[in-house]
């Protein structure tokens, strides 16, 4: 596992939290599809990697899960944000924005400097 995956996992967790916040309780498949859609289909998720990420978030107490029924009457496990998850989302989003802002300063052409 290289650094890329670590960043990827971190961002995946953020995407999951953000998606759950905007959509409410959601099952794994729905989450995966929604993340792809939100990315404008630029992201091609390997769905299998989503589940360890969900498990990690659950172990850390940011999300909780329970079995329920999907709109087309399938039994599915639904994930939902916890209070700690809401806080974590705010924190992680702020961190991410800061990181991208810093990076942006480096990547913009150097005229101003």
């Amino acid at each position: 596992m290289g650094d890329k995956t670590d960043v990827w996992q971190g961002t995946l967790a953020l995407m999951v939290l953000r998606t759950l916040e905007s959509m409410g309780p959601q099952h794994g498949y729905g989450l995966a599809r929604r993340i792809e859609q939100t990315s404008g289909d630029l992201l091609q998720l390997n769905y299998g990697t989503l589940y360890p990420a969900l498990l990690k978030l659950e172990q850390e107490g940011y999300i909780k899960s329970s079995w329920g029924t999907s709109e087309n009457n399938r039994k599915a496990k639904f994930y939902d944000l916890t209070k700690a998850g809401h806080r974590q989302l705010k924190r992680a989003a702020a961190e991410w924005e800061q990181t991208t802002a810093i990076l942006a300063r480096f990547l913009t052409p150097a005229e101003e400097a």
Partner: protein
């Protein structure tokens, strides 16, 4: 925190694997179903939709695996598996496991025991604040050629140093004495420290009850206050509470109790001061030093002991140079005849434990060697076992177990053995600590505070783990060298035995060499001990002695003379008593008086010193010290103290080498004016220690030694005599306490206690080492016999006699022993340097010891090898061949 929470959930996950697996299977199933539903809605065939769904998932099995790794802690999981498997296999071969565990437990136990001792004596910090900042201050005078530690500063010098120096946060002076304490209707002797107002502040301790002794308490007239030790308060009053403001009578004067010290503070201990009062191991009472202006101006007599606490950031060297400079100025104020006073600042902790440091290291070295031997044995056992497990391991490799996993498995087993051995070792160490008080030689500081604290337990765990790795690594490496699958294919049992055998033999050789080193060390100590025990002390063992302090109660010399006249007369009148004598300081009582002296007709040197003792006429008879020439003192001699002296043989030999000492004249006063005539020469007596040859001595006649010892020779038993001394004394003066009633034999035994301590410990360790090495040798021989059953069978079938078979086995044992012995002798040639300073009258290359070690190892080794050799000889060739 979140990470910790996740860790706990994962840890808990280990116990709920199955339920979680089912749950996840259901989740994946539902995921695929949802995906398929959508595929079908998008127009795919159900089969194609399912195929797509699985592809996007990235493989069901991989997903399961990733999930499992996240759910629990994979490394822990395989560790638990290894452990469970290890425990099962170890339980499957109990005789192997028990042997290996007990072997290591002996080694680890010995290490733990000695480490707990080292921990108490050397590592644990002293309970005196930051004790690294404490120093002793001495003012040695090189003119007298005596150890610097004998020169405590004179109070005049000390208080000038205190005023003029900037290096110290505080300086305190104190003095030791032994006093009569009258309390609760009985008199006993107590050890007293007389301390100035800065004593407790310098040591940064305060009483657990009441207050410390202050500068005001040291003002004359205000000094009748006393602080008790916790133990004395307990033994005298039954408790600590409620003793404040009660009155105690010490040497006939009444003191008010103002405090009780905590249990941990009993400074000064006998072992703290190089020239301390030896009668008591600890201090029981602290009273003010209460110096008069006259005392504080004293310069020429060393007064008490001085301890100082360095200011933060001041080094000993800085303090040393400052005080040296001050002493250069102060020296000019001294008697011009005696000038030359300097300064010595010594680290307090080093002075306290320095003298036992080398002993502690010696013991640690010895137990480390025992541990190494134990490791060698355990490694050999594991090697033998690994060889017999090749088939099982081969099967595991064939089934896909990685090499690293196999090595990990073997190491896990070694760690299991090591940790179990560690646990048992701790209980061995506990037993050792229980017996330690019986071994206490009395001069090892804080020996009886040795305990199994956290540091010791941590040490044991680390040693156990190290031991495990050390013993486990050899078999693991040996196994990883064997191509297990090939081995399995050949279905053989041989081929690896050769390589293994060499490692095992090498281990036995190394073990025997280590044993030789240990045996040589123990042997040298035993020889030294025997020599010390057979030293001619020059006095009778059965003489009963007792110590008396009378000057504090009988202020007038006339009073004490009267007391002694009555006391000696009463004792002499007892049936069975042959002689009653008195002396100011008994042999082996750790005190002496040195006088400047000159001998008439001898090329006297400046400032030459001689040891002087003051004895009553009957003393020599009471101690059975023989007369060599001339006569003993008579009662008439005691009235003119300076006229006659008796010298010992050493004195006569040195100063009257070609002359008759009788009638010769000496003076022993500082100004060399009072000449005394030698009337007798007596036999040499070991005075300062058993191990130092007697120094020249001059005996002066007195009618009674004021504060000193009495010596009684009688036909009574020591117990009966002691009872008579006590009751006689009580009937004369109930306020006088007598202490240390003991025979000279007991005094001698106490003087050799440390030697006994180190000798017995090292001998026990050498014994354990020898036993372990023999077990190892026996084990290896038995193992190789069992491996060679077929070979032996063939030899016998071809007509080899049984004696030839015995020789075959013994030959190998002899070879191993000879190699070990050779290596060990070479190693001990160098290693015994460590023990050099512990020897007495024995060369460290002592041939007797070397020869005994060789014989001992050879005989024991051959006996250990003989058992398997005889078993080999009893092999039934038919049986052996049929079984193959």
């Amino acid at each position: 925190m979140r990470k910790l929470r996740a860790f706990w959930i994962r840890l808990r996950g280990l116990s709920r694997m199955d339920a979680a697996n089912d749950d996840f299977a259901a989740e994946i199933e539902s995921h695929v179903a949802l995906h398929v539903d959508e595929g079908i809605r998008a127009g795919l065939s159900p089969v194609e939709a399912r195929r797509q769904a699985l592809i996007r998932l990235g493989g069901a099995e991989q997903t399961h695996q990733a999930q499992r790794e996240r759910r629990t802690l994979p490394w822990l999981e395989s560790l638990m598996q290894d452990t469970r498997y290890g425990i099962r296999t170890l339980r499957g071969s109990p005789s192997f496991t028990i042997t290996a565990v007990l072997t290591l437990a002996l080694g680890i136990g010995a290490c733990t025991a000695i480490f707990s001792l080292v921990n108490a004596v050397l590592i644990r910090s002293l309970p005196y604040g930051d004790s690294g900042k404490l120093v002793y201050v001495y003012t040695p005078n090189p003119r007298y050629n005596l150890p610097a530690e004998m020169f405590g500063p004179a109070y005049g010098d000390l208080y000038d140093i205190k005023r003029q120096s900037r290096s110290f946060q505080s300086i305190t002076a104190f003095d030791q004495s032994v006093s009569n304490l009258a309390a609760q209707g009985a008199a006993h002797r107590v050890s007293v420290a007389r301390v100035d107002g800065d004593f407790f502040a310098t040591f940064q301790v305060s009483p657990e009850l009441g207050r410390a002794i202050t500068a005001e308490d040291n003002q004359p007239g205000h000094d009748r206050v006393v602080i008790l030790s916790h133990a004395l308060s307990r033994s005298t009053f039954g408790s600590v509470t409620g003793v404040l403001h009660r009155q105690l009578v010490i040497d006939g004067k009444s003191y008010e109790i103002i405090g009780v010290m905590p249990e941990s503070f009993e400074y000064p201990h006998f072992s703290d001061l190089p020239y301390g009062v030896p009668q008591y191991k600890t201090t029981q009472v602290w009273i003010p030093l209460a110096l008069t202006p006259h005392d504080m101006a004293e310069r020429d007599n060393s007064s008490g002991v001085a301890v100082a606490r360095l200011k933060a950031g001041v080094s000993i060297a800085q303090a040393q140079s400052e005080v040296s400079a001050i002493m250069v100025r102060l020296d000019k104020l001294h008697d011009p005849q005696m000038q030359g006073w300097g300064a010595l600042i010594e680290n307090f902790v080093d002075s306290t434990v320095g003298h036992v440091r080398s002993l502690m290291w010696l013991l640690l070295d010895a137990v480390c060697m025992v541990l190494l031997i134990a490791c060698g044995n355990a490694a050999n056992l594991l090697l033998a076992r690994a060889a017999s497990r090749l088939r099982e391991l081969g099967v595991r490799v064939a089934l896909g177990a990685g090499r690293s996993r196999i090595i990990r498995q073997l190491l896990t087993e070694a760690v299991l053995i090591g940790l179990t051995a560690g646990a048992i070792g701790i209980s061995f160490a506990y037993l050792f600590l229980r017996t330690l008080p019986h071994l206490d030689p009395g001069n090892i500081p804080r020996l009886n505070e040795a305990s199994l604290d956290m540091r010791v337990l941590f040490f044991t765990v680390v040693v156990s783990l190290l031991t495990s790795v050390l013993t486990g690594i050899l078999p693991a490496v040996a196994i990883s060298k064997v191509n297990l699958t090939d081995f399995l294919a050949s279905s053989g049992n041989r081929g690896v035995a050769g390589a293994h055998g060499r490692t095992q033999s090498a281990l036995i050789v190394i073990e025997s060499a280590l044993v030789v080193v240990l045996l040589a060390g123990a042997g040298l100590l035993i020889r030294s001990y025997i020599k010390v025990e057979s030293v001619d002390t020059g006095f009778s063992q059965s003489t009963v002695t007792a110590s008396l302090q009378v000057s504090a109660i009988y202020r007038q010399p006339k009073q004490s003379a009267e007391f002694y006249r009555t006391f000696f007369a009463r004792l002499s009148g007892l049936p069975g008593v042959k002689a009653v004598g008195g002396i100011n300081a008994l042999p082996l009582s750790n005190s002496e008086t040195l006088n400047l002296f000159e001998v008439e007709g001898y090329a006297n040197q400046k400032d030459q010193l001689v040891e002087g003792r003051w004895v009553t006429p009957q003393y020599f008879s009471a101690m059975t010290i023989p007369l060599v020439a001339g006569r003993f003192f008579t009662d008439a001699d005691t009235s003119q103290t300076d006229d006659w002296v008796i010298v010992n043989q050493a004195f006569a030999n040195r100063y009257f080498s070609n002359r008759n000492p009788l009638g010769g004249r000496v003076n022993t006063d500082d100004h060399h004016v009072k000449w005394s005539t030698i009337v007798g020469v007596i036999g040499d007596v070991r005075h300062s220690s058993l191990e130092e040859s007697p120094a020249p001595q001059v005996y002066h006649p007195v009618s009674a030694a004021e504060d000193g010892y009495i010596a009684v020779r009688s036909t009574l038993s020591p117990e009966a005599m002691a009872a008579e001394i006590r009751s006689t004394l009580h009937s004369i003066d109930p306020d006088l306490a007598v202490a240390e009633i003991q025979t000279m034999g007991e005094l001698e035994s106490a003087a050799s206690a440390q030697r006994r301590f180190q000798t017995s410990l090292l001998t026990v360790f050498a014994g354990i080492a020898l036993f372990l090495a023999l077990v190892g040798l026996y084990g290896l021989m038995a193992y190789s016999v069992s491996r060679r059953t077929r070979e032996v069978g063939i030899r016998m079938a071809l007509g080899a006699p049984r004696s030839a078979v015995v020789l075959l086995v013994l030959k190998k044992a002899v070879l191993l022993l000879a190699l070990g012995l050779g290596g060990g002798l070479v190693a001990s040639w160098f290693a015994t340097r460590v023990i050099q300073s512990f020897l007495y009258n024995v060369s460290r290359h002592d041939p007797v010891t070397t020869a005994s070690v060789c014989v001992l190892l050879a005989v024991c080794g051959l006996l250990a090898a003989l058992i398997p050799a005889r078993r080999a000889a009893s092999i039934d060739p038919m049986e052996a061949l049929r079984n193959e």
